[in-house]
Amino acid sequence: MGPEVSLSKRNNVLYCVIAILLLCILLFPLYWMFVTSIKTEKEIFQIPPTFWPEVLNLKSYAAQLKSGDFNMFQSFGNSLIISIGAMVIAVILAVPASYGIAKYHFKGRKSVVLVFLVTQMLPVSVLLTPLFIMFKNLHLYNTVWSAILADATIGIPFSVLILRNYFASIPKEMEEAAYIDGCNKFTAFMRVLIPIAKPGVIVCAIFSFLYAWGDLAYGMTFIIDQQKRPITAGIFNFMGQYGTKWSYLSAFAIVTIIPVALIFIFMQKYIITGMTSGAVKG
């Protein structure tokens, strides 16, 4: 039961086999979606189901290149713009804020931390109608800006709280050494502190991106035109209209997962850091 206990050779093999079995069971839904996306519509409804397509069909992907009522690649691009926009806002605002909280004991600091902690736990429902009215008045309704501005509210508190720990762990001497070398407060922050906190900044950027990428409520409520909507809202719309066109739907699902999978493959260690130090679920 203890942590990090070494195992005998036989047990090692046994555990590896069990682990792979667990992996296959738990990730089966993802595999199933992928296989469905490369089957023909007819084969999808076939009984018994096939676990690898008899006829390889890439038309579900190719059909999206022609513009229909739902252009998957355009929606994908919209999602990218929205997610990168929200990520940039979150990082630019959170980096100095977390530095201020970690390094300066100003009045009301604890309340500020509390504000960020509580906003993290907010349900979107509370913000939807007021933001809807606000964006209409500001003429941001039905533009990507509405989703960008709303999605950043998820990334900011998360990023502030994570980065606060990174900045707090940097010893004061390091900052003082920078002053001796002729830096002022601002240049010390830019040239010394930010580079040290870089892994933390990456974690924040990734999570702010992922939160925005996964958003449905904001994108669906604030953007009405199908051509401007993020891919999640586009899929939801498509489901409403052609509920059982599973070949297309599964292809949309796979395309939506691609950026997440790429981030996952190349930046896994940052994701685990983010999940454990922030203890946050979207």
Binding site: M1, G2, P3, E4, V5, N12, Y15, C16, A19, L22, L27, P29, W32, M33, F45, P48, I89, P96, A97, Y99, G100, Y104, F106, K107, G108, V115, V118, M121, L122, P123, V124, S125, V126, L127, L128, T129, P130, I133, A150, T153, I156, P157, L216, T221, T232, M239, W246, L249, S250, A253, T256, I257, I263, F264, I272, M275, T276, A279, K281, G282
Partner: protein, 300 residues
Amino acid sequence: MNRVKKFFKYDNVGIFFVLPALLYMIIFVGYPIISNFILSFQDVTVKTLLSDVKEFVGLRNYIELFKQDNILTTSLWNTLIFTVACLVFQFIIGFALAVFFNKKFAISKPIRGLLMMPWMIPITVTGLIFKFMFGTDVGIINYFLKGLGLITENIDWLTNTATAMPAVIFANIWIGIPFNMILISTGLSTIPTELYESASIDGANKFQAFRKITLPLLRPTIESVLILGFIYTFKVYDLVYVMTSGGPVNSTQMLSTYSYKLSFEMFKYSKGAAVANILFVILFFVSLFYLKFTYSQEEA
């Protein structure tokens, strides 16, 4: 005096670093929360939504929600049942997986990493996947259950009032397992190995060691996993909206989906705001409880 002045000045600089982020949150979160409360005491329709003059009706929206229809009570119950069921299963499975992957075998780390996937993919996609898998004729779940001899007729999971909730819970557990697993794994890795070694020298068996060492030392982790899990599960929205939209006949209607339906499908903005506020108040108190709890731990 001079030093006091200097100290004060130095620390005050911090506010300027925080101010932009704080202002952003006040504009796009703080102000909406307040205006949502005001909205819930008014009677706002499509006509009056953007005008400055809105009729004040006091508590009428809340009273009507509680008195006239029972959908609010249904949603409240559904949300609670959904949350508790998800928490129990994802915690037990997540805990078991954490203990398993804590063993040092060749591929434990990479496989545990791969198991994070369900937590990361957009919930809209997860909803789509499970809607497909729980399909009546096309769904693989019915096929598996038939193969195992558990059912003879296909179950219409998402269109039947009795089975829609279990199906939605099942999908959410799939998302929640990695979250529970990784947090408990981190907790487990902080327990020093020596404790188990000395326990086994003292003649304790594995079960005793688990009960007397693992569980007590893991208590803070377990408590925060459960409270955070409660908060995040209670505000579930996307998954249910994609899989069932709260149906059939409100059998999976949650506070969040009901609020959305009232505001953006029935255009009863004020009633929708009132339901959102009920959800908000519940979560706010749970969050305060959580914060008090973590602060007292930090001090201890």
